[in-house]
C-alpha cells in the first residue's frame, strides 16, 4: 500500500497521521479537511476560548512543522465530493482525483440545527462568533441541557450574561449521566443564576425570542442550540457503505469496504469490552483511541477496539468525568471522597464494574475515575464495601 487518504480535520484525523508514521508507514499520507485550519483541539471552544481575555488562537493538534516532518500532504478548505470505491479514489470539489490504497473517514459530526435564528458550536469560527455575543448583560438562550449547552451556560454566566437553558426532558443530562450527579450540576447552575426550564417545549423561534408551548416568551439577544450532533455520513452513504447510527464499523474500525476505515464521531463500532455492544462515541479521547485502532488494523494488525470510553465536562469549578457505560450497570454504589466530591460505581448483577461517574471540584475525582477505568478494563469485581469506603485506596483493589 502506497497511499493513505484521511478525510477530516479533527482529533481522529490528526492522530491518524501521527500513528501512521509511528508505525513506520513509508507511503504518502494525504489529509483533506473542509476547514481552513490544520486540525485543532475542540474542547476549549465551549470553555477557555470563550472566557479568555485575548482572542484565542486554535490549539493545534498538528502544528505546521509537525505536518511537514510527518510528510503529510494537507489539503485544507476543500471538500470531498465523492468516494469512488471502484476506482479507489476520492474526488475533490476542485475536480482533482486522488487515488488511495486505504482510506480513513474521520468526518466527525455536525450539530443539529434549529433554523436560521439559532447558532451552533462546532468549530473555531463558531467560537469566535459566540465570543462577540457573550458580553455583560446579554440575554443568552440555550436550547438543550446537554454537555455543550451547559458548558456554554457556564461560560456565558461567568461573563455576566443572563442565561436561560431550555430542556425538553424532565432533567438535564438525561443521556449518559446519572440523576444523582446531574442534580449537583443542576444546582450549581441555579446558584450561578442560570435559569433552567425543564420539561419545556418550544413552539417557535424568532430572531430575538423563543416562544414556548405554554405561552411564555423568552427574550434573547442570542439563541444557541445544543441538541446533539448527527454523524457526518454523507460521503460514506453515497459510496454505498453500511450506515448504522454512523458509518458502521466492525471491532477493527473497518467499514463494510475492507479498504475503508472510520474513526471518531462519524462512526459506530462493535465494542468488545461491553458484550459486543454497537456504540457511537462522541468523545475526545475515544477519537484518539479509535484512530489508533483503525491505523493499526489498516497496516495489517488484527486489533479489536477495547479501550474503555472516558469523557469529561468542566462547568464552573466542577469537573465531571465518566468512564465505561453508566447506563449499563443495574447496581450503583456511592463513594464520597469529600463533602463535594463523589463517585458512583455502576456494577453488573455479577459485581463487575461497568462504569463510574464522578463529580467534584477541579480534578478531585480524576484519580479514582482512572482506577475505575482500569477495573472496568480488567472486568474486576471489587467488594462493594471497599468501593464505598474512601479510606480503602482503590489502587489496592486493583492489585487484589
Amino acid at each position: 500500500m502506497k497511499h493513505v487518504i484521511i478525510i477530516g480535520g479533527g482529533m481522529a484525523a490528526a492522530r491518524a497521521c501521527i500513528n501512521l508514521r509511528s508505525h513506520d508507514f513509508q507511503g504518502e499520507i494525504t489529509l483533506i479537511s473542509e476547514e481552513q485550519h490544520l486540525p485543532y483541539d475542540r474542547p476549549p471552544l465551549s470553555k477557555a476560548s470563550l472566557i479568555a481575555e485575548d482572542e484565542p488562537q486554535p490549539i493545534w493538534l498538528l502544528e505546521p512543522d509537525i505536518v511537514k516532518s510527518l510528510q503529510v500532504d494537507a489539503h485544507l478548505g476543500v471538500a470531498v465530493c465523492k468516494i469512488d470505491r471502484i476506482a479507489k479514489q476520492v474526488i475533490l470539489a476542485d475536480d482533482s482525483e486522488l487515488p488511495y490504497g486505504k482510506l480513513l473517514i474521520a468526518t466527525g459530526a455536525k450539530p443539529r440545527s434549529l433554523g436560521p435564528h439559532v447558532l451552533t458550536l462546532r468549530d473555531y469560527r463558531d467560537a469566535l462568533e459566540l465570543r462577540k455575543r457573550f458580553k455583560l448583560g446579554q440575554k443568552i438562550v440555550i436550547v438543550g441541557g446537554g454537555f455543550i449547552g451547559l458548558e456554554l451556560a457556564s461560560s456565558a454566566s461567568k461573563l455576566g450574561c443572563k442565561v436561560t437553558v431550555i430542556e425538553a426532558q424532565q432533567r438535564i443530562l438525561l443521556r449518559g449521566v446519572p440523576e444523582r450527579i446531574a442534580k449537583i450540576i443542576h444546582d450549581r447552575h441555579v446558584a450561578a443564576s442560570v435559569e433552567l426550564l425543564l420539561s419545556t417545549v418550544i413552539e417557535a423561534i424568532t430572531a430575538n425570542a423563543v416562544k414556548l408551548q405554554d405561552g411564555r416568551e423568552i427574550e434573547a439577544d442570542t439563541i444557541i442550540a445544543g441538541i446533539g450532533a448527527s454523524p457526518e455520513v454523507r460521503l460514506a452513504q453515497e459510496a454505498g457503505l453500511v450506515i448504522d447510527n454512523g458509518i458502521a464499523c466492525n471491532e477493527y474500525m473497518q467499514t463494510s469496504d475492507p479498504d475503508i476505515y472510520a474513526a471518531g464521531d462519524c462512526c459506530s463500532f462493535i465494542h468488545t469490552q461491553f458484550d459486543g455492544r454497537r456504540v457511537r462515541l462522541e468523545a475526545w479521547r475515544s477519537a484518539q483511541e479509535q484512530s489508533a485502532t483503525a491505523i493499526a488494523n489498516m497496516l495489517g494488525e488484527t486489533k479489536a477496539h477495547s479501550a474503555v470510553p472516558w469523557f469529561w465536562s468542566d462547568q464552573y469549578e466542577l469537573g465531571l468525568q465518566i468512564t465505561g457505560f453508566a447506563d449499563m450497570g443495574p447496581v450503583t454504589v456511592e463513594r464520597h471522597l469529600s463533602e463535594q466530591a463523589l463517585i458512583l460505581f455502576h456494577l453488573a448483577a455479577d459485581g463487575r464494574v461497568l462504569g463510574a461517574s464522578g463529580i467534584g471540584p477541579g480534578n478531585s475525582i480524576a484519580r479514582d475515575i482512572k482506577l475505575a477505568e482500569m477495573m472496568i478494563a480488567k472486568s474486576l469485581k471489587p467488594s462493594m464495601q471497599a468501593l464505598v469506603d474512601p479510606s480503602v485506596p482503590l489502587k489496592s483493589l486493583l492489585r487484589g
Binding site: R15, I18, D41, L61, W284, R285, Q288, W310, W312, G362, N363, S364, A366, R367, K370, L371, K395
Partner: protein, 135 residues
C-alpha cells in the same frame, strides 16, 4: 531507602571556541545550586505524587514503587493542569485532566495529547528530607 542523590547533576567544564571559560566558572556552580526541602520522605506515599509550591512555581515530587524520589515541574505541558491530582502507575504520571502521560523519571511525554516533555529536577535525600535542586 536511597541516602544519596538519585539524579546527580554533572558539571562538565565547558570552554568555548575562543578558549575562554563560561561567565560562571564551573567551580562556582556548586555554590549556585539551590537545594530546597520539598518534603519529608514520609510525606510522599509509595507510587504517588505530592505537590510542592515554592517561589511562585509549582513542582511535583514523586516516589516510585521502588522507593526512589523524583521531581518535575508541577504542571502538565499540555494545558497547565496540576499533575499532583493525577494517578502514578509505575514510573508514569497521568494528567488528571486529559490523560496525557509522562515518565516522571525522565520527564519524557508518552503520547497524546502531550508533545512537550516535563522539566525534571535533581533530587537528593538527606536525613529523611527530600531536597530538590532548583538551580
Amino acid at each position: 531507602m536511597a541516602e544519596k542523590p538519585l539524579c546527580k547533576l554533572l558539571y562538565v567544564a565547558q570552554i568555548d571556541e575562543n578558549g575562554t571559560l563560561p561567565s560562571t566558572p564551573n567551580n562556582m556552580r556548586e555554590n549556585m545550586s539551590n537545594w530546597i526541602e520539598a518534603s519529608t520522605t514520609d510525606g510522599v506515599n509509595n507510587e504517588d505524587v505530592l505537590r510542592f509550591d515554592y517561589g511562585g512555581k509549582t513542582f511535583a515530587i514523586f516516589r516510585s514503587p521502588d522507593d526512589k524520589f523524583y521531581a518535575t515541574d508541577g504542571l502538565c505541558t499540555h494545558e497547565k493542569v496540576h499533575l499532583c491530582d493525577g494517578l502514578v502507575m509505575g514510573h508514569i504520571i497521568e494528567c488528571p485532566k486529559h490523560n496525557g502521560r509522562f515518565d516522571y523519571t525522565t520527564g519524557k511525554a508518552q503520547g497524546a495529547p502531550c508533545i512537550l516533555n516535563l522539566r525534571t529536577y535533581a533530587v537528593k535525600i538527606e536525613a529523611h528530607k527530600v531536597l530538590i535542586n532548583l538551580e
